[in-house]
C-alpha cells in the first residue's frame, strides 16, 4: 500500500504532532526531511505542498495537505479502523469536548507557551541568538493563567476532553515537551494535576518514540 509521506523534521513541533498521530494509529509512513536552515521550505517544490512555506506537509497519493492539526485529523480519521479513536466523531458530546480543548490548545495554550520555547530554546540553539527575557517573562505570566484553567479542568477530568485520552491531549505535546527541556519546566510544579496528566500522556509508547527524535532527549 505504501503509506503516507510526511515532509518535515523530527525536531519540528508541528511535525511531531503529526508523527504522534501516525504512531498512535500504527500507520505506515515515510518522513522526508525538509531543511529549514537551507531555506528548502520556501522553495517552489515545497511551496507547492504548503503555500505558507511551513512544515509539515503530507502526501497521500494525490492528496496533499498542510496545517499539522488538519493533517492529524485526516490521519486519525483515515486510520480509525486501527482501533485507536482519538477524535470520538461517533459521539456528539464527546467530539464537542475534543474540539473545545483542541481550540483551547490553538488559541490559549499555544500562544502563551510558544514564545517561551522560541526564545529560550530555538533562538539560542538554532539561531545562535540571545533570548529576549522580557518576552519570556510576559509569556510566563500569560501561561500561568492558562495553566490555572487547565489545573481546574484536570482536577475534575482525567484527560482534557473527558475520561478518555484524545487528540486534544496529544496536540499539547510538542511545545510542552520543549518547555520541559528549558529551566521554565519548573512552572508545572505549581499545577499538580497538570503535572500528573503530563506524566500520564508521556508514558505512552508513541510519545516516547517521537520524543526520542526531538531536541533535548
Amino acid at each position: 500500500m505504501g503509506g503516507v509521506i510526511l515532509y518535515g523534521s523530527p525536531i519540528s513541533t508541528c511535525s511531531a504532532r503529526v508523527l504522534l498521530c501516525l504512531e498512535e494509529v500504527g500507520a505506515e509512513y515515510q518522513l522526508v526531511p525538509i531543511s529549514m536552515p537551507t531555506g528548502e521550505h520556501k522553495k517552489p517544490d515545497h511551496l507547492a505542498r504548503n503555500p505558507f512555506g511551513q512544515i509539515p506537509a503530507l502526501e497521500d497519493g494525490d492528496l496533499v495537505l498542510f496545517e499539522s492539526r488538519a493533517i492529524s485529523r485526516y490521519v486519525l480519521r483515515k486510520y480509525k479502523e486501527s482501533g485507536t479513536d482519538l477524535l470520538k466523531e461517533g459521539n456528539l458530546a464527546k467530539s464537542a469536548m475534543v474540539d473545545v480543548w483542541l481550540e483551547a490548545e490553538s488559541q490559549q495554550y499555544n500562544p502563551a507557551i510558544s514564545p517561551i520555547v522560541y526564545q529560550s530554546l530555538f533562538v539560542p540553539k538554532m539561531r545562535g541568538g540571545t533570548p529576549d527575557q522580557a518576552i519570556i517573562d510576559a509569556s510566563l505570566e500569560k501561561f500561568k493563567k492558562v495553566l490555572e484553567v487547565y489545573e481546574a479542568r484536570l482536577s475534575k477530568s482525567k484527560y482534557l476532553a473527558g475520561d478518555f485520552f484524545s487528540f486534544a491531549d496529544l496536540s499539547h505535546f510538542p511545545y510542552t515537551k520543549y518547555l520541559m527541556v528549558t529551566p521554565y519546566a519548573s512552572v508545572f510544579e505549581s499545577y499538580p494535576h497538570v503535572k500528573a496528566w503530563w506524566k500520564d500522556i508521556t508514558s505512552r509508547p508513541a510519545f516516547k518514540k517521537v520524543s526520542a527524535g526531538m531536541l533535548g532527549s
Binding site: E67, S68, R73, L92, A93, D99
Partner: protein
C-alpha cells in the same frame, strides 16, 4: 422554544462568528447578554460555562461548548440536515471535502487570526475602550497579514472559495475580523483581486448581513 443559548454580545468578533454559523444552519437560538463592563465574564457562574472567562459560550440540552470555532463545528455536526448542508464539506464529498475545510480552518486559526485580531484590537477596540494605539504593532501585523492575504489571493485565483467550490465554515470564520478590517483598511483586502472578489461574495451572504444588523442595534 429553543434549547440553544449563546452567551455574549454581537459586537464581539468571536460571538459574531457563532451567530453567522447559526444563521447559515438555520438553527434557532437565544442570545444571553454578558455584561463585560461589570465583569460578569469573570463571575463564578460564567466561569462554569467558559473557564477562560471569555465570550462566547454556548449551551444546549446536550453540551456546554466554548471556543467559537469548536462551537461552529458542533453546530454543523449536530444539525447536518439543517440550513447549509455543505458548511463542513459537502454531503457527497466525504473525507476529502471535510479535510479541505479543516485545512483552511487551521490556516485561519494559525495564520490569519493572530495578525488580524491584533489589528482589530488596535484599529477598532483600542480607540473604543480608550487604550493607546501602538503604531509598531499596527505596522508589524499589517505586514504579516499582507503575506497571508498574498497566499489567499493565489489560492482564490484557483478556487472559488477557500476549501473548494462551495462556501464553507473555512470562509465563514474570516467574516468577523474581515468585516472590521475592511471598514478600517479596505486596501488590504480589496487591492488583491481574488481576495476582493471572495470578500464581496462571502460578506454578501444573508447570514452575515443578519449578524451585521444585530451588531448595528444599540445594545441596552
Amino acid at each position: 422554544m429553543t434549547s440553544v443559548t449563546v452567551y455574549g454580545a454581537p459586537f464581539s468578533p468571536a460571538v459574531s462568528r457563532v451567530l453567522a454559523c447559526l444563521y447559515e444552519k438555520d438553527v434557532d437560538f437565544k442570545l444571553a447578554p454578558v455584561d463585560m463592563a461589570k465583569g460578569q465574564h469573570k463571575s463564578p457562574d460564567f466561569l462554569k460555562l467558559q473557564p477562560f472567562g471569555q465570550v462566547p459560550a454556548f449551551q444546549d440540552e446536550l453540551a456546554t461548548v466554548f471556543e467559537s470555532r469548536a462551537i461552529c463545528k458542533y453546530i454543523c455536526n449536530k444539525y447536518p440536515e439543517k440550513g447549509n448542508q455543505n458548511l463542513i464539506g459537502g454531503r457527497d464529498g466525504g473525507l476529502l471535502a471535510r479535510t479541505s475545510v479543516d485545512q483552511w480552518l487551521e490556516a485561519e486559526g494559525q495564520s490569519f487570526n493572530p495578525p488580524s485580531s491584533a489589528l482589530v484590537f488596535q484599529l477598532a477596540f483600542a480607540p473604543m475602550f480608550g487604550f493607546k494605539q501602538d503604531p509598531a504593532a499596527i505596522e508589524q501585523n499589517e505586514a504579516k497579514l499582507a503575506n497571508v492575504l498574498d497566499v489567499y489571493d493565489r489560492r482564490l485565483g484557483e478556487s472559488k472559495f477557500l476549501a473548494g467550490d462551495d462556501f464553507t465554515l473555512a470562509d465563514l470564520v474570516h467574516l468577523p475580523n474581515g468585516h472590521i478590517l475592511v471598514s478600517k483598511k479596505e486596501d488590504l483586502f480589496l487591492s488583491r483581486k481574488n481576495v476582493g472578489r471572495w470578500w464581496e461574495e462571502i460578506s454578501a451572504r444573508p447570514s452575515w448581513k443578519k449578524v451585521v444588523e444585530m451588531q448595528n442595534v444599540p445594545q441596552s
